[in-house]
């Protein structure tokens, strides 16, 4: 077998996946003809509002749900052709962490991390050794005898991450893993995941409804709406130029509220990470000798580059306005009309 080919092939291929549930006498389509490739080593974000079908999708990826039609191919193996014992074996290669952590309340931390190894039939001594290494990796070595009830949310998720890594999985599925945590803890868990990704080269799939999570660690993102992909691509692309309404809603969450304030001669100035660090705006004002009115700005720093947009009202003078637009464009900044 040509293993070189396998290495370059996507680790997860989702092809025309559809999942319908029969709820109270009606068919509900949770996932609708969904196709997506996730490459080895990606940190792939799947984002959508609640009810978009994200959780069902992740459960189809590890075959906890059986798709109504379509296939999921994991590491070259079609999951729909597997059953029972084989499927259980395959699941060990794609671990999962959850919003509610799902630790065993009656087991201590060490024993929780040993749990998947017990299931896999690893000898106790070996399992404990591995569990201790993983607890060190997630920074919880001193808590090995504590019980989940004695830990904070962030600590519980660290234990869950250690547990998920115990069987040396190829993929880590994160189902709203930071949604029950405060922003600071979310940041530290994401930093931990990023560190693990760099160290182990594991593929990570992140299901979330928070754009902040995607922008912090993902390389790629698929925006999901009503069980379909609204848009997908590299994170920078989606952030600089969201095309679908679902993606716009996530990237510019306050856009709707703003509409009323926007005046007649407005432009949207988009920063897509390609502009230099120069103070473009103050330079522009000096250069064009014109005053502009800034209505709105939402800029963020994503991995060291500026992303976001500003809504600016142009001066009444046509020639001045044109000058401003061409100045911005010459500085690699996208400008679109945003008038009422």
């Amino acid at each position: 077998m040509d293993l070189g080919y396998l290495d370059s092939a996507p680790i997860i291929q989702i092809k025309n996946l559809t999942k319908t549930f029969f709820v109270k006498g009606a068919n509900v389509t949770a996932i609708d003809d969904f196709s997506l490739d996730i490459n080895r080593g990606d940190i792939y974000g799947i984002i959508g509002m609640s009810g978009a079908g994200k959780s069902t999708l992740v459960r189809c990826i590890n075959a906890l749900e059986t798709p109504t039609s379509g296939t999921v191919i994991f590491d070259g193996i079609d999951l729909s052709e597997q059953s029972g014992r084989n499927l259980r074996h395959l699941r060990r290669a794609m671990s999962m962490i959850f919003q509610q952590f799902n630790l065993l309340a009656q087991r201590n931390v060490l024993s929780n991390v040993c749990f998947p190894l017990e299931i896999a039939g690893v000898p106790r001594k070996e399992a404990r050794k591995k569990a201790r290494e993983l607890l060190e990796l997630v920074g919880l070595s001193e808590k090995e005898k504590s019980y989940p009830a004695q830990l904070s949310g962030g600590q519980k998720q660290r234990v869950a991450i250690a547990r998920a890594l115990a069987t040396d999985p190829k993929v880590l599925l994160c189902d709203e893993a930071t949604s029950a945590l405060d922003p600071t803890t979310t940041g530290s868990i994401l930093a931990l995941l990023k560190g693990i990704h760099e160290r182990l080269g594991i593929t990570i799939v992140i299901i979330t409804h928070e754009m902040g999570v995607i922008e912090k660690i993902c390389s790629h993102v698929a925006v999901m709406e009503d069980g379909r992909i609204a848009e997908m691509g590299r994170v920078e692309e989606i952030f600089s130029e969201p095309k679908s309404s679902a993606a716009r809603k996530l990237v510019y969450p306050d856009e709707d509220k703003r509409v009323n304030y926007i005046g007649e001669r407005c432009i949207r100035v988009v920063f897509d990470g390609s502009s230099s660090n120069a103070p473009v705006f103050s330079n522009m004002i000096r250069e064009c000798n014109a005053a502009v009115n800034i209505w709105f700005a939402d800029l963020k720093d994503i991995q060291g580059k500026a992303f976001g947009h500003m809504i600016v009202e142009l001066p009444d003078d046509e020639s001045q306005a044109e000058k401003i637009v061409s100045y911005l464009r010459s500085n690699n900044i996208k400008v679109e009309d945003a008038s009422k």
Binding site: N62, L64, L87, R88, H89, L90, R91, R92, S95, M96, F98, Q100, N102, L103, L104, A105, Q106, R107, N108, F115, P116, E118, I119, A120, Y147, P148, A149, T167, L173
Partner: protein
């Protein structure tokens, strides 16, 4: 009756009540624990849904539980006689009590196991656990504190069944209360027997509560 006679009578019969309760509880759990787990996992939301079998077993258990204990005890007399050689005495009555109590125990167990967090079960599934592994490593260990509380309730219920069995020729404190107190009009003996039953129930329940609290890590 001299104090010594009363004391010896109470000692013997308390022991017999305890014997019936302990062994009947063990016997009832031998059948009721697997049955309760079976009811839980074969439920439509369980880890191995088998709705048809589940409802049939459920109905049988409800029938067993609906029949009053005394009626059930009379009905199983021939079975007890075949299995135990006699239908009289505390050892034979232990068997009758197992028959009378296992359905109750199955429901108590089902209740405890059903309360195990669904998320933890899902996590075990995601790790590739088999149904048997989920039962042994997740459902029962996670339900343990609740199962112990349930066992205390079951044991005290079986103790009160065993007291009723006094009417049918069982031994124990219930038999003493009925034969001495009711039939012979020795009210003091009756009240002593009842007081001892109360004490046994209090001790049993408290032990259960204590143990459950001690092992619960939540």
């Amino acid at each position: 009756m001299s104090f010594e006679t009363i004391f010896n009578l109470m000692l013997t019969e308390t022991w017999r009540s305890l014997y019936m309760t302990i062994f009947a509880t063990l016997g009832a759990y031998l059948v009721g624990l697997p049955l309760g787990v079976f009811l839980c996992i074969t439920d439509k939301d369980g880890i191995k849904p088998m709705p048809a079998i589940n409802s049939i077993v459920g109905i049988c258990i409800n029938i067993m539980r609906a029949v009053p204990f005394l009626i059930l005890a009379v009905v199983v007399v021939p079975v007890t006689r075949t299995v135990m050689g006699t239908s009289l005495g505390y050892q034979a009555m232990t068997f009758t009590l197992v028959i009378a109590a296992f359905a109750f125990v199955a429901r108590v167990v089902e209740n405890s196991v059903k309360a195990v967090d669904k998320g933890v079960i899902e996590a075990a599934h995601s790790m590739g656990a088999s149904i048997f592994q989920i039962i042994c490593k997740v459902l029962i260990p996670e339900a343990k504190p609740s199962l112990i509380l349930g066992a205390a309730i079951s044991a005290t219920t079986i103790l009160s069944f065993s007291a009723m069995a006094g009417i049918l020729g069982g031994d124990g404190l219930g038999f003493v209360a009925i034969s001495y107190g009711h039939h012979r009009g020795q009210r003091d003996i009756m009240w002593i027997a009842v007081a001892l039953l109360v004490v046994l129930v209090i001790i049993g329940q408290s032990l259960g509560n204590l143990l459950a609290r001690k092992i619960d890590k939540r």
